[in-house]
């Protein structure tokens, strides 16, 4: 049994009672990393020396001060490598940032450091968060702890794999079109994409600014709520962070969902969704019914247009955001360029991988003169229709429930040859980003030994209800207690 089989609140109690020390927790993290990292390869950079030093520092504090610390105090955490960490290499899994040493912390890092969480290392991802399998990393292949021949999902594949493998009790990911929820589903852990604006994006290397959100990846819903509690809220450094009060999320975990009204979109259980996944979701709905909820089938009629809308909008925003990687201020620079333009071109061509280039070009095309109205503006208008679909359903229902992904984790290399096949993985998660609402993935079954995720979607800024439903479901099932045999 590992210390990390405990919930974070239990570890907190053990620390308070002095039954364990912060150093024990950090030791456990690096012990487990030493044991399984060869197989999983979730981490791009380890922060061992600093983590151990900080553990000692916090242990001293713990010895001197009584009970004056929060639940995250002394808990090791892994951070997706597109969140900047002062003095700790941050690469976005891209060669263009292979040596980037941030000079400030992201707001979420400031808040975590303040709370006493200990950064163990930086986690692998698809380059600049563009991908659904972490195969687009410029550095290494992360494997799914449940089956090393399969992908962990993406783009936060390293974060989900590290939590599933027990290397860290929890991690941060980011989600632009499903990048927290899809890997959480594939790795059998809990992943939340908060409402757009709930968590500051300051220090999150931007991919698609109108869609990106940072969120927690954890073993349990309760852990997830504790982590969100610390990182959520208005930030003067991010003008798109919302001035909306942050409720107490853990208090929402009552286990009571009597009278809850669930909508199940027929589009989320239709064509393209594997029969076994459909069955797992129907079984999950029976569990929720037993707990006193009711569900009805509804329609989100514009769902089928979400994928195209997303690729046009996200790529357009990316083409602008990634213009900053030019070899001037940080990162990689190509040698022997003839002039400045040549230097830009050589640097970017050598530094970016193919998926990133593809999306930059798609975005540049969609925004270029003569095509802007036909592609970019059209997609923005369809985004309105998709958002309205959700608003309409939420007039009558508390949450929307469906699968997180159409299938369980696929094999490494299975979908790399055709970009559109890879993109289709995200059809059930993308609409949530376009509408800006919160969504969580919780384990709801296994198909041939591979985890399946249940997606629960809520109203804007209603993470509390999402958590309440996820937690009630989790308490009524034991999928979250299963661990991969690594």
């Amino acid at each position: 049994m590992s210390l990390f089989d405990h919930k974070i609140s239990e570890l907190h109690t053990l620390l308070q009672k002095k039954e364990i020390s912060v150093s024990d927790l950090v030791d456990e993290s690096f012990r487990r990393i030493g044991e399984v990292e060869d197989k999983v390869q979730a981490f791009l950079t380890l922060n061992e020396e600093n983590a151990r030093a900080k553990a000692k520092e916090l242990d001293d504090k713990l010895a001197k001060e009584e009970n004056d610390f929060g639940v995250l105090f002394g808990i090791p955490i892994g951070i997706k490598d597109n969140i900047v960490t002062k003095g700790l290499r941050t690469t976005c899994a891209s060669k263009i940032l292979y040596n980037f040493d941030p000079i400030y912390d992201a707001t979420v890092m400031e808040r975590l450091n303040e709370a006493g969480a200990i950064t163990v290392g930086k986690l692998n991802m698809d380059e600049f968060a563009m991908g659904s399998s972490t195969e687009n990393s410029g550095f290494q292949l992360t494997r799914n702890p449940w089956d090393l021949e399969r992908v962990p999902g993406g783009s936060s594949g390293g974060s989900a794999a590290a939590v599933a493998a027990g290397e860290v009790p929890f991690a941060l990911g980011s989600d632009t079109g499903g990048s927290i929820r899809q890997p959480a589903a594939f790795c059998g852990v809990v992943g939340l994409k908060p409402t757009y604006g709930r968590v500051s994006r300051f220090g999150l290397v931007a991919f698609a600014s109108s869609l990106d959100q940072i969120g927690p990846i954890t073993r349990t819903v309760e852990d997830n709520a504790y982590l969100l509690q610390v990182i959520a809220g208005l930030d003067p450094m991010d003008s798109t962070s919302a001035n909306v009060e942050v409720p107490n999320y853990v208090e929402a975990l009552t286990g009571d969902i009597k009278g809850l009204k669930i909508a199940v979109p027929k589009e989320y259980l239709g064509e393209g969704v594997a029969e076994e996944v459909r069955q797992s979701v129907l079984d999950a709905l029976k569990v929720l019914e037993k707990l006193g909820a009711t569900w009805e089938e509804v329609s989100l009629p514009h769902s089928k247009y979400a994928l195209a809308t997303y690729y046009l909008l996200a790529s357009s925003e990316a083409s602008a955001n990634l213009a900053r990687f030019d070899g001037v201020r940080y990162g990689y620079r190509a040698d022997n360029a003839k002039n400045l333009i040549d230097m830009y071109k050589q640097t970017r061509s050598e530094g970016f991988g193919n998926e990133v280039k593809r999306r930059i070009m798609l975005g540049t095309f969609a925004l270029s003169s003569g095509y802007y109205d036909a592609y970019y503006k059209k997609a923005q208008k369809v985004r309105t229709l998709i958002k309205q679909d959700f608003e309409k359903v939420f007039e009558k229902y508390d949450v929307i429930v469906g699968p997180t992904t159409p299938t369980p984790a696929f094999k490494i290399g299975e979908k790399t040859s055709d970009p559109l096949t890879m993109y289709a993985n995200d059809i059930l998660t993308i609409p949530v980003n376009l509408a800006g609402v919160p969504g969580i993935s919780v384990p709801c079954g296994f198909v041939n030994g591979l985890p399946v995720g249940l997606q629960i979607i809520g109203k804007h800024f209603d993470e509390s209800t999402v958590y309440r439903v996820a937690h009630a479901f989790e308490q009524a099932t034991d999928y979250h207690k299963q661990k991969p045999a690594l």
């Binding site: 040596n99 604006g197 195209a308 070009m361 958002k387 376009l434």
Partner: protein, 97 residues
């Protein structure tokens, strides 16, 4: 069927995006981008004549704050990650021939 994007357009877009691509890559990207753009054209099935565009999901207008001067990042820190710098400035190859 007529393709949505030609190899010349792809090369032009690559230039606009400051990417150098080989002829082989241009061919590959043309095929892939053509497939993606063709797929994206399903949006034309929808009549969006009177639909307003969404650029941001939250109802936010300009976010203002007090204009208070605060110190910027220290110069030596900012230059720390630069591939090349001199006399406190970023150094780049010749801009004019």
């Amino acid at each position: 069927m007529m393709s949505r994007i030609s190899i010349e357009q792809v090369k032009h877009v690559a230039h606009l995006a400051r990417l150098a691509i080989t002829d082989e890559e241009a061919e590959m990207f043309t095929k892939q981008l053509d497939a993606i753009i063709t797929f994206a054209e399903q949006l034309n099935e929808l009549d969006t004549e009177n639909v307003p565009p969404t650029s941001h999901v939250l109802d936010m207008k300009n976010v203002m704050r007090e204009d208070v001067p605060t110190p910027g990042l220290p110069r030596e820190e900012v230059l720390k990650n630069a591939p090349d710098h001199q006399d406190g400035q970023f150094r780049v190859p010749a801009i004019l021939e």
